[in-house]
């Protein structure tokens, strides 16, 4: 049950605590190719979330016994920096981070042609520098851009976004307080061109009707983020082209 708070999360005009409308995303910025030493990388800022993703591989698997003979091994590591939240977080991977690493791996796995690189591993590192709710979704979004930046063949990009219910309103892209005080949170990852959902989680309660509406809301969020992902990937090349044409 929602606790009584001094400040309402959604005011009588339907405006949220950070000034957004119910069906509005946080201001989002994505940049590709930010880590020189990685094969591919991306950085995302979604509201107060700041997340770095780096991709290494395909390369030979270490430790050797994990090698798969028919496809590549995809390993994702979701990690929060000790300074990413208000109370210092122990740098050791927590139970939550291990679980998120697993579900992120499963959300990204269907998008990659793993069978083209047997006996290798593709390592994805997602480092949360600052967290404010919805980091698993932003992490997946950034990781997918980083994979495309690494030149790894993919069926589609993976885009993720959450939607949920706060104080009776259905809202898009929940931030930390809304997630904690709200009634329901539903993160969803999507391959937009193939229209295939690769991750669907829910915590809290929704009626069947609300559930469907929340999913559709999350899907519209994904489509918006997808445009940003594509722009981020193209940005560097368009900049070079423009500079050349200017000459």
């Amino acid at each position: 049950m929602p606790r009584k708070t001094t400040k309402k999360l959604i005011d009588k005009n339907g405006i949220r605590a950070d000034g957004r409308k119910p069906e509005e995303l946080r201001p989002t910025k994505i940049e590709a190719g930010v880590i020189r030493n990685a094969d591919g990388s991306a950085y995302i800022e979604q509201g107060k979330n700041k997340i770095l993703a780096g991709v290494y591989g395909p390369k030979e698997v270490h430790p050797k016994h994990l090698t798969l003979l028919d496809r590549a091994l995809l390993r994702c590591r979701y990690h929060m920096a000790p300074f990413s939240v208000e109370e210092r977080k122990s740098p050791a991977p927590s139970r939550r981070e291990q679980e998120l690493s697993k579900v992120i791996t499963w959300a990204i796995e269907p998008s990659i042609f793993l069978e083209q690189f047997p006996r290798t591993s593709i390592d994805v590192f997602i480092e949360v520098l600052q967290a404010n709710g919805g980091t698993r979704c932003a992490g997946i979004t950034a990781a997918s851009v980083a994979l495309a930046d690494a030149g790894i063949p993919m069926r589609d990009l993976v885009t993720a976004c959450a939607a949920g219910k706060v104080e009776g309103h259905l809202v898009l892209d929940l931030m930390d307080v809304e997630d904690k005080m709200g009634e329901a949170d539903l993160p969803l990852a999507l391959m937009p061109n193939l229209n295939a959902i690769t991750l669907l989680q829910m915590d809290g309660g929704l009626t069947t009707d609300e559930f469907e509406r929340v999913i559709n809301l999350a899907l519209t969020g994904c489509k918006q983020i997808h445009t940003l992902q594509k722009e981020a990937l193209k940005a560097r090349y368009i900049a070079v082209k423009k500079a050349v044409e200017k000459q």
Partner: protein
Amino acid sequence: MTRLPTFYENKQLVTPGDLLAEGNYVAGENAYNEDDKIYSTQLGLVDYEERKVHVVALRALYIPYIEDTVIGKVVDVGFSGWMLDINAPYLAMLRASDVLDRPFKPQKNDLSSIFNIGDLIIAKVVAYDRTRDPLLTVGEPSLGKITRGQIVEVTPTKIPRLIGRQGSMISMLKRETGCHITLGQNGLVLVSGKTLEDERLAIMAIHKIDQEAHTSGLTDRITKMILKEKGGVKHAQKDD
């Protein structure tokens, strides 16, 4: 025949998952077909050729092909050969029997006296099929250990751009800079010239090609840049 729908113009930038064409098309390089729809698998430039749709990737990893010339670095010396890093997902093997034409005994011959760890080698891929690591050979006149020059790294997919149409780019580079240039299909390029200044110029041009590979009129711009740089050097000598 009715024209089937395509969704982009030739040479337009596409990202993974973009729907390139629908209907009676064939998926070429960096594209795949699902339910008669062709999608891109890479960030790159789309190319429609009759019924074939392919994407020229802007960033991709090197996958070995038989007959490719590659430049590799020795990372391990074993009893019967060397392991080379050729910038691919897999390490490549160079057998001792390929280098020594006489029968050799592992106890007698010290392989590290021929190629040691860290040595750079120009080699050719003789066998590779994904189930086994690529096998290399140095049994041709132009192949073997690199003794002089500088190595430049470029994106492997941009090697064709570096060669140019019928070798126009590479022959221009060689002519204008006076350098000897060996292209490794794996994205490593060996540049060796008479002076460091020549090499510097060639490397600068190669970096520029790597960066601007997706733009048009590149050969002309590179030629201009080299002539300008050369002019600058002559000028500096006059001042002295």
